[in-house]
């Protein structure tokens, strides 16, 4: 009995949590506000864990994560509206709106895929540059993406792009379930699952080798350029997935919401959680989302308090909440209860 319990404990827990949240949302037992906080929590987890792959595991400093999020958001929004909803610009839907439900994950993944390709904007320069210089390139990449979209009148330019709510409604009309909650939950689990597997394989550990000593990594047969490309593309692709979900939760995107401030927000989550710690990134994303909501009454003063918190964290616990360790390193007994493969 015990090995089976150990083997499937994580799966069961996830099904349980996902099931409860979906049920509560379905019964409208939790308000729309709480629900949207929960969904943003999922998006933030995707963002912080994916940025942690670059900033924590690979040891580079990327501060343009929101740019890739923006690419994902726009691509999946445009695809969704183009295919499944009547729009002033794109005209009648190309496909039957009742198919939206089945195609939705593909639309989000397509956004992620294009964002991954946009990740090459940072991956290619990373062959020769690193550290501070690469950080500047990531900022530049963020600006390039934002400015490009701001100047594309077809998709609304700086006014933004909308119409995604119709796609969400089409999904809910097909099968009456809180679909956005379900998709956000599934994609969050999917992200953590991918990253966990990537990081624990010998292949993925090549990334840590690059972080700890790039010269030794290259000499010890790690194809560093290839690993950097894969890592940057994976990281920005997942940011694109987060962006797509974000767009569909809000129902509206504009380039202004993916500027450097958003990137900084993600950076705060990564540093709060602890570098190279997957469980740290998950926990800090949850904590940060809740904190943002709790501080909402402070209004604009919020942005004084949160950076202050960061200063305090850096002063008294510079390694973050988890600091390079996973949950199972701190509580080794936990290993008895679950198994990750």
């Amino acid at each position: 009995m015990k090995p089976i319990l150990q083997r499937y404990s994580v799966h069961m827990l996830l099904v349980l949590v996902g099931g409860i949240v979906t049920y509560l949302a379905y019964e409208e037992a939790i308000g729309l506000y709480t629900l949207s906080v929960l969904m943003f929590m999922g998006v933030n987890i995707i963002l912080s864990t994916s940025l942690n792959l670059v900033n924590g595991n690979m040891g580079e400093f990327s501060c343009g994560h929101a740019g890739f999020m923006c690419v994902g958001a726009y691509v999946s929004s445009i695809l969704g509206v183009l295919l499944f909803s009547k729009d002033k610009v794109f005209g009648a839907p190309l496909l039957d709106p009742s198919l939206a439900l089945y195609c939705f994950p593909l639309i989000i993944l397509a956004g992620g895929l294009v964002a991954a390709v946009a990740g090459l904007l940072v991956a290619l320069p990373s062959y020769k540059t690193r550290g501070d210089y690469l950080a500047i390139i990531t900022i530049a990449a963020n600006y390039i993406i934002i400015s490009l979209i701001e100047n594309l009148g077809v998709i609304g330019g700086s006014r933004g792009f909308m119409g995604m709510k119709k796609v969400v409604n089409a999904m809910n009309d097909t099968v009456d379930l809180p679909w956005m909650v379900i998709w956000v939950f599934l994609f969050t689990v999917f992200t953590v699952w991918i990253l966990r597997r990537y990081n624990s394989s010998t292949f993925g550990k090549g990334v840590s080798a690059i972080c700890q000593d790039e010269v030794a990594a290259e000499i010890m047969s790690v194809n560093t350029n290839k690993m950097k490309t894969i890592t940057f593309m994976l990281s920005s692709g997942l940011a694109g997935v987060a962006g797509g979900l974000f767009a569909y939760i809000i129902g509206y995107v504009n380039p202004g919401s993916f500027n450097i401030l958003k990137s900084t927000e993600v950076l705060v989550m990564v540093y709060l959680g602890g570098m190279a710690s997957l469980s740290g990134a998950v926990m800090s994303a949850m904590l940060f989302t809740v904190l943002l909501e709790l501080l909402r009454p402070l209004q604009i003063i919020k942005w004084v308090v949160i950076p202050l918190l960061l200063i305090i964290v850096m002063q008294f616990r510079p390694e973050g909440i988890m600091g390079n360790r996973e949950l199972s390193d701190i509580f080794p007994k936990l290993k008895r209860f679950y198994r990750f493969k």
Partner: protein, 267 residues
């Protein structure tokens, strides 16, 4: 598996052949007109005063720099325009003057990650955890543990390298290089920072590696006693120029070498 005996047939091509190699950095000629041929299972040395260009020669052989002029041929294959990890795949492994282990990874992982070039699965299989993935990971772990056991490091498998004494870190770096199953092993000052007891240990270790593994060893070292005891052939360079070559005894009494190390009589 790892241990191979010496009685394999000696291939005709030399393990390393450097032909009139020159390396310039801007106006500075770091290595000039350097030639060497290392045969199968040979053990040779490279010495010279500080800044003579010894490490540059190693960096050129391991693919970090591309020589300005001349050719490097490893196991019959020219290394021109190859990235270092490709050169490693040709059968070259090296250690560094200042130890370059991955310090936040366990000793076992240090050996495992060094097998990166020999993984027979890629990104997708790592995510999907195919049968092939498990087979490959299992094989790598088994081989790594076996290698650590051979060198009596297995009890530190889960330790971080920083927690090991200095001498063992040096040893681990050599073991990590050997895990690449090289035909040519480059040791860059393996005795640097070791005390006299550790140095004797190192000499025994290098000799044992030479006898047990089917590998040509080329080393840079300042400790002459290490060179005298190990190397059959020593090359001396100064300011990038080869100034002497031969047995340890010959090199030690060579006037050019004495001048290079101690300076001229005339002041």
């Amino acid at each position: 598996m790892i241990m191979q005996t010496q009685n394999t047939t000696t291939p005709s091509a030399p393990v390393l052949e450097i032909n009139k190699m020159t390396q310039r950095f801007g106006g500075l000629t770091a290595v000039s007109d350097f030639s060497v041929t290392l045969g199968h299972n040979e053990i040779a040395g490279l010495i010279g005063p500080n800044g003579a260009g010894k490490t540059t020669v190693f960096n050129l052989v391991s693919g970090f720099y591309q020589p300005t002029e001349g050719k490097i041929i490893i196991n019959g294959q020219p290394t021109a325009k190859l990235k270092p990890h490709k050169v490693t795949a040709l059968g070259v492994a090296r250690t560094f003057q200042n130890i370059r282990l991955w310090n936040q990874m366990s000793v076992l992982d240090n050996i495992r990650v060094a097998q990166h070039g020999k993984l027979d699965y890629g990104f997708l299989q790592a995510i999907l955890r195919s049968k092939n993935y498990f087979k490959c990971e299992e094989r790598i772990e088994e081989e790594a543990r076996e290698l650590l056991k051979v060198f009596d490091l297995d009890k530190y498998a889960d330790e971080l390298p920083t927690n090991l004494p200095y001498g063992l870190q040096r040893k681990l770096e050599i073991v990590r290089a050997l895990s690449e199953k090289p035909k040519l092993l480059l040791l860059d000052e393996p005795a640097a920072g070791l005390n006299s007891v550790d140095i004797q240990e190192l000499i025994r270790l290098v000799r044992w590696i030479h006898e047990t593994f089917d590998v040509t060893i080329w080393m840079i070292e300042h400790h002459m006693d290490v060179m005298m005891q190990l190397c059959t052939d020593i090359k001396v360079i100064d300011f990038g120029q080869t100034i002497a070559e031969g047995t340890a005894e010959h090199v030690r009494n060579h006037p050019a070498v004495i001048t290079a190390y101690l300076g001229d009589d005339n002041i």
